[in-house]
């Protein structure tokens, strides 16, 4: 089955209010082309899931697409500093920040991928996160009687993962760090891929390097070279400093719309 489609058609599959897992880590291989397309389509009420997010989460908050963010860390890391749009959206009460430890996002995704409703987690011994968030609770070990903390499963409706290579059916390879993307693909109801390169149907059958994400988990494949820019894609390109600064300098939603339109025209 050929799942190749253009970016707009793939993003149109995602309804308002969907829970969306985002691949990559901070400015590393985040699915930025897809994120920008979501913003252009004016999505509303997206519930984002990520261990450590950056510009992807910031841009979607800026564009008013987001109702909640489940993550352990949201920042551009040190060089490009804080996610000001995420921050002000949370401070204004527009976006609910569901803070996790990165590991509790992983544990919640594992629960979903194992088909169980929650996952016990060590740590969180003394933390206000446990009392402040209803997705944490205590459970009793049925064997020893010990009390453990647990996190509720997170099953994204869809995850968007930017990959180095995919075939038209949706078999995909990530080169270099995979971060939590393979788990994300297993935990989610479906996966949308954006790919640097589309390979022929027989490619993976003939290759000793098999696909990391198998086709049957994937609902759409988009050919999107530089689909992680202005962030980095390992082995392909680094960050685009100029574009990052031009985004960070945007004053308001209107400026963002112009910036997205200009970028879209150039693409």
């Amino acid at each position: 089955m050929n799942k190749l489609m253009d970016l707009a058609a793939a993003m149109a599959q995602i309804p308002d209010g969907a829970m969306v897992g985002l691949g990559g880590n901070t400015l590393n291989r985040a699915p930025m082309a897809a994120v920008m397309a979501l913003a252009c389509q004016g999505k509303q009420g997206l519930r984002l899931v990520k261990t450590a997010g950056g510009m992807d989460v910031d841009l979607l908050c800026f564009a008013g697409c987001v109702s909640s963010v489940d993550a352990g860390f949201i920042s551009y890391e040190t060089q490009y500093s804080l996610c000001q749009h995420y921050r002000s959206a949370v401070q204004a009460g527009k976006v609910q920040a569901n803070e996790h430890a990165c590991y509790t996002v992983i544990s919640a995704l594992r629960a979903a991928s194992y088909g169980i409703p929650f996952m016990p987690v060590r740590g969180l011994v003394e933390s206000d996160l446990v009392t402040a968030n209803e997705y944490f609770a205590q459970v009793k070990d049925p064997f020893s009687g010990d009390i453990l903390n647990a996190v509720r499963a997170i099953q994204p409706d869809v995850s968007i993962v930017h990959v180095h290579m995919a075939d038209a059916r949706g078999n995909a390879v990530i080169e270099g760090p995979q971060y939590d993307d393979i788990l994300l693909s297993r935990a989610s109801k479906t996966v949308i891929l954006t790919a640097e390169r589309i390979v022929g149907d027989g490619y993976f059958a003939a290759s000793s390097r098999k696909a990391d994400i198998p086709h049957f988990m994937v609902s759409a494949v988009v050919h999107a070279p530089r689909g992680a820019a202005p962030g980095a894609c390992h082995g392909v390109h680094g960050v685009s400093d100029g574009e990052l600064h031009s985004f960070l300098a945007l004053a308001d939603a209107e400026a963002l719309t112009q910036w997205l339109t200009r970028r879209h025209v150039h693409a």
């Binding site: 590393n28 860390f73 060089q79 992983i106 933390s127 270099g176 082995g235």
Partner: protein, 238 residues
């Protein structure tokens, strides 16, 4: 002139013992450089763990925009990504985790979450990343913070992201250590006075002895320049 970033990197590196498993995460150029320094000097058998999952990267090219990028995997010999580093810590196998935060009390509490109310915060911070699970499970959580003022080191936290096995806190002014459940002054960095530390700390400074942090040696400084020629250890001070 001794720069705070060099003093901090050296101070953090010296806390790593040979053979220990050591993890750092995102926004962590200083600990990244400290781990590489320790491995190049006194702790060659320390095990360097990171988010992209490169175990013991050999002379990695450092990147300004991230401390969790692919170059840490490129020159590594084995893969052991973030989820597995966490698992290791949960089962008691992680010796050292380098973490940070925005507020610290003198009982080893860390706030990296919010200033103000959790649901309606005055300031939404990036979040604790691994802190809430690593601080209680790693054998030692070593904290670094490049700001040392009364808002950072305070009597009462706005929010407790984590408390647990914080062992040391390194700042541009000094090295604090947890001792019998209390954060005490362990050593004062060169060219800093105890009055300056007291003035900039929101809880009373207590100590067992007034000692000075040994300044970086020529060997350590040369290794720092070699490991980090583009001076990313100074990113947080720029």
């Amino acid at each position: 002139m001794l720069r705070p970033c060099d003093m901090m990197a050296v101070c953090m590196a010296r806390l790593i013992c040979d053979g220990e498993t050591v993890f750092h995460g995102v926004s962590s150029h200083l600990p990244l450089v400290a781990v590489l320094l320790a491995k190049q000097t006194h702790a060659p058998q320390a095990v360097h763990l990171n988010i992209p999952g490169g175990v013991d990267p050999q002379r990695p090219t450092l990147e300004a925009f991230t401390s969790a990028g692919g170059t840490l995997l490129e020159t590594a010999q084995a893969q052991f990504p973030l989820s597995e580093v966490f698992d290791l810590s949960m089962r008691g196998g992680l010796d050292v985790a380098f973490l940070s935060g925005v507020q610290f009390d003198n009982r080893g509490g860390v706030n990296a979450s919010v200033i103000g109310d959790y649901r309606k915060p005055k300031v939404r911070l990036p979040g604790g990343a691994g802190s809430a699970v690593l601080i209680p499970t790693a054998k030692r959580a070593i904290i670094w913070r490049t700001k040392h003022d009364r808002r950072t080191f305070c009597e009462t936290l706005d929010f407790l992201t984590a408390r647990g096995n914080v062992s040391d806190i390194i700042t541009p002014l000094c090295h604090f250590k947890m001792y019998a459940g209390e954060l005490i002054l362990h050593s004062i960095h060169p060219n800093v006075t105890i009055a300056e530390i007291a003035e900039n700390t929101g809880f009373p400074i207590r100590y067992l002895a007034q000692t000075t942090t040994p300044p970086p040696t020529e060997e350590e400084l040369a290794a720092l320049r070699d490991i980090d020629p583009l001076d990313y250890r100074n990113l947080e001070f720029r």
